[in-house]
């Protein structure tokens, strides 16, 4: 950061990696760390994290949700900010935790305090830090899928597009119905696969109709689902998390693509 003198203590950010990034695509986590560090933040990745609790929450298992929520609050509340490379998990912490704990004064206060400093990654970079972007390049025609929770719970829409506009050689083209659900919906995707698959097919068709060669988004759940559907339909679009492209870490295989054979 340029203004070291004015800003003596760097901003301390905890990364909530999300269970999907942790297990399925660590590159997204490293991309998020690099972006945050490039923006001048000190990044900590607390070890005692697993998941934000949405699978329990969305399946009506209230006591498990509360137990996991308390754990997340305890681990993350001491940092200046909590940043999440997912609108869905970000929305869980910011919109849902405070309401979940509404019957418990101590915990509702702690949940509310956590909510106040929780941000989705691109939202944090643009709205809080004013990050202008690094020197990353990505040569491709990209289209962007707005994930529902990010869009409707957190208002994430302009931020990723603004950051992508600063990526060299990247061109963005909007598809029809960018704000229609892709049909992932967490455990919905495996409980009602036929409906989920139909919504994915609609989304993939909309993306393909743009002539884009790459589909980007801010939620790995949607992206795994859409990449899997594209593979199944034999479509050739590459799928990346927006953080990978912004951090210049999208040179490897895209989601669902094999490693280049040696």
């Amino acid at each position: 950061m340029e203004d070291e003198a004015e800003n003596p203590r760097p901003i301390s950010v905890a990364l909530l990696v999300t269970c999907l990034v942790d297990l399925m695509r660590p590159n997204v986590g490293f991309a998020a760390v690099n972006l945050l560090q490039d923006a001048g933040c000190t990044v900590t990745v607390p070890r005692a994290q697993s998941c934000c609790g949405q699978p329990a929450y969305n399946n009506g298992d209230e006591s498990s949700t509360l137990a996991i929520g308390r754990q997340v609050i305890e681990v993350f509340e001491s940092f200046d900010y909590v940043v999440v490379p997912s609108g869905s998990c970000g929305g869980m912490l910011r919109e849902h935790y405070p309401r979940l704990f509404s019957a418990d004064l101590e915990w509702v206060n702690r949940a509310y305090a956590l909510a106040q400093k929780t941000y989705e990654l691109t939202e944090f970079l643009v709205d809080v830090i004013g990050y202008k972007g690094g020197n990353s390049h990505y040569s491709g025609l990209c289209t962007y899928h707005d994930s529902c929770a990010g869009l409707r719970e957190l208002g994430v829409r302009a931020q990723p597009r603004q950051l992508l506009a600063g990526v060299g050689d990247l061109e963005l083209i909007e598809m029809n119905e960018t704000d229609t659900c892709c049909g992932f919906g967490g455990t919905f995707s495996v409980k009602y696969p036929e409906i989920s698959g139909r919504l994915a097919a609609n989304k993939v068709a909309n993306a393909d109709r743009t002539d884009a060669d790459t589909l980007l988004g801010g939620d790995l759940g949607c992206l795994l689902h859409l990449a899997g559907r594209m593979r199944r339909e034999g479509r050739s679009l590459k799928v990346f998390h927006v953080a990978e492209v912004l951090a210049g870490m999208a040179s490897g295989p895209s989601i669902g693509e094999p490693e280049a054979s040696v």
Partner: protein, 476 residues
């Protein structure tokens, strides 16, 4: 799901719907039409979001004092020369309405579109007693001929294509002298108008719903695009209005707020073609109008809803915006929901009215994408209500025991992060090794729920936590 009228399971119904070519055709066209027209209308009205707040507040206020407003309304109706009947259940409402019809020696009854009448199975009750009942809303008329339930609360025959309607008319209208099959939109509508014209003038009783009841004046308000509601209300000797108790609003001033929201939200029109206020029976100097004016106020579970956690569901003005914007509804059509209330509002209402165990899938077959709540003109938190249903289902151990066990096992692990990380690292390592040359799996043991419709992208190496710990160790 098995409700009163259906024995096919939700899953079977969904499979049928997804593979029904004409349904998919009909739904695709209708849905994108309503969504686009609404978008244009809303964009042209900067105060739309503020108006939604006002509408929500008016409804909340009215629900808070519902008993008083209903009594104000009743007083006014009596003052105007009409009668108000109170029905606590659907059966009671049907009995009251049948009684009025019999009192009037009715044989032929015309009906405007009314979701409450569908809810209480009014047609069945009247027909069983020997009355002839004819639906006069074009969509309702079509599904009456087809002997089906409505699939959409404002466009009941949305699931039908034009050629299906053409066939249906051909089958039913030949005996009335319409020998040639009509195929164009204009011909079909014109044939329906001719057939219904005769019915309108000879009906003894007209039954309509009400979009709103105005306490200040004792009026019922009907909003339609076909004018059939007016012919049903004015021409017969007796006019009966069926309405849920939540339909009352305080004043005409309030009505203006809802009229600005309703058509925009429903069909993307600034106003529907016909908006009519009916205030009592024909007065001496009126050129026309019914001799008797009856309002049947139906509770049927609503006051229980008023007292519980789902109260704000009673704000619903039945515009259908949540249906039109629901990707699941659009994919599977209204009939998959198994009852007359469909889409997100139906997924909330049906379990409340027919039982949580009767309608297990409805609250669950939703991605919680939140678009319904975003477009709702009275800001009903529909996704939260669906989650509440899930909590109650979980508490009552409804649904698949296996999926409940998997979630609670996973939650147990998630509460022990170190152990969780160690356990999860094993399948991740295995799958990333097996998947490194193919990138994704077409099939996985225990993974059918995923792989039946899409490949499973392989994890890419060790977990983030493992790699992060390794990186930290190697740092000075």
């Amino acid at each position: 799901m098995s409700t009163t009228t259906q024995t096919v399971t939700f899953g079977e119904q969904v499979d049928l719907a997804l593979n029904n070519v004409s349904l998919q055709q009909a739904m695709g066209r209708a849905e994108s039409g309503f969504v686009e027209t609404r978008r244009h209308c809303v964009e042209a009205m900067p105060e739309f979001e503020a108006l939604k707040d006002t509408a929500r507040d008016i409804k909340e206020h009215t629900l808070e004092h519902l008993d008083s407003y209903l009594e104000f309304f009743e007083e006014k109706v009596i003052e105007n020369g009409g009668t108000v009947h109170w029905a606590s259940s659907g059966e009671e409402a049907c009995r009251i309405i049948l009684g009025i019809c019999q009192q009037a020696d009715a044989r032929l009854v015309t009906k405007g579109k009314s979701m409450v009448a569908e809810e209480i199975h009014l047609n069945e009750a009247l027909e069983k007693a020997g009355l002839e009942v004819v639906e006069t809303d074009l969509g309702e008329y079509i599904i009456q001929l087809a002997n089906e339930m409505p699939s959409h609360i404002i466009a009941p025959a949305m699931h039908k294509t034009r050629s299906q309607i053409s066939e249906l008319f051909h089958t039913h209208h030949q005996s009335l002298g319409y020998v040639d099959k009509t195929t164009t939109r204009e011909e079909i509508v014109s044939e329906a108008r001719q057939v219904l014209r005769d019915v309108f003038v000879s009906a003894d009783v007209g039954i309509t719903g009400a979009n709103f009841l105005v306490a200040e004046t004792g009026s019922n308000v009907i909003v339609t695009n076909e004018g059939n509601g007016d012919l049903t209300s004015c021409l017969p000797r007796v006019h009966i209005i069926t309405a849920g108790i939540e339909k009352v609003i305080p004043s005409l001033e309030d009505l203006s707020v809802f009229l600005r929201l309703l058509a925009r939200s429903a069909t993307g029109q600034e106003m529907a073609a016909y908006t009519t206020l009916y205030t009592g029976p024909r007065r001496d100097d009126d050129p026309e109008g019914p001799e008797e004016y009856h309002v049947v106020l139906v509770d049927n579970g609503r006051s229980a809803m008023l007292a519980g956690n789902y109260r704000s569901m009673l704000r619903c003005i039945r515009c259908g915006a949540c249906l039109n914007h629901c990707p699941v509804y659009t994919a599977i059509g209204g009939h998959s929901y198994g009852w007359i209330y469909t889409g997100p509002m139906g997924a909330v209402l049906t379990p409340l009215m027919t039982g949580l165990d009767n309608a297990y899938d409805l609250p669950n077959a939703c991605t919680l994408n939140g678009r319904c709540q975003e477009v709702c003109p009275v800001r009903i938190p529909l996704p939260d209500f669906l989650r509440q249903h899930r909590v109650r289902q979980n508490q009552r151990r409804l649904g698949s025991g296996l999926s409940r066990r998997v979630v609670s096992m996973w939650a147990w692990l998630a509460r022990r992060p170190r152990f969780y990380q160690a356990v999860m690292a094993l399948p991740v390592r295995l799958l990333s090794y097996l998947g490194r040359h193919r990138g994704a799996f077409e099939k996985l043991p225990f993974g059918r729920g995923w792989t039946v419709v899409r490949d499973f992208p392989a994890p890419t190496g060790a977990t983030f936590q493992q790699q992060w710990q390794k990186r930290k160790r190697s740092e000075p």
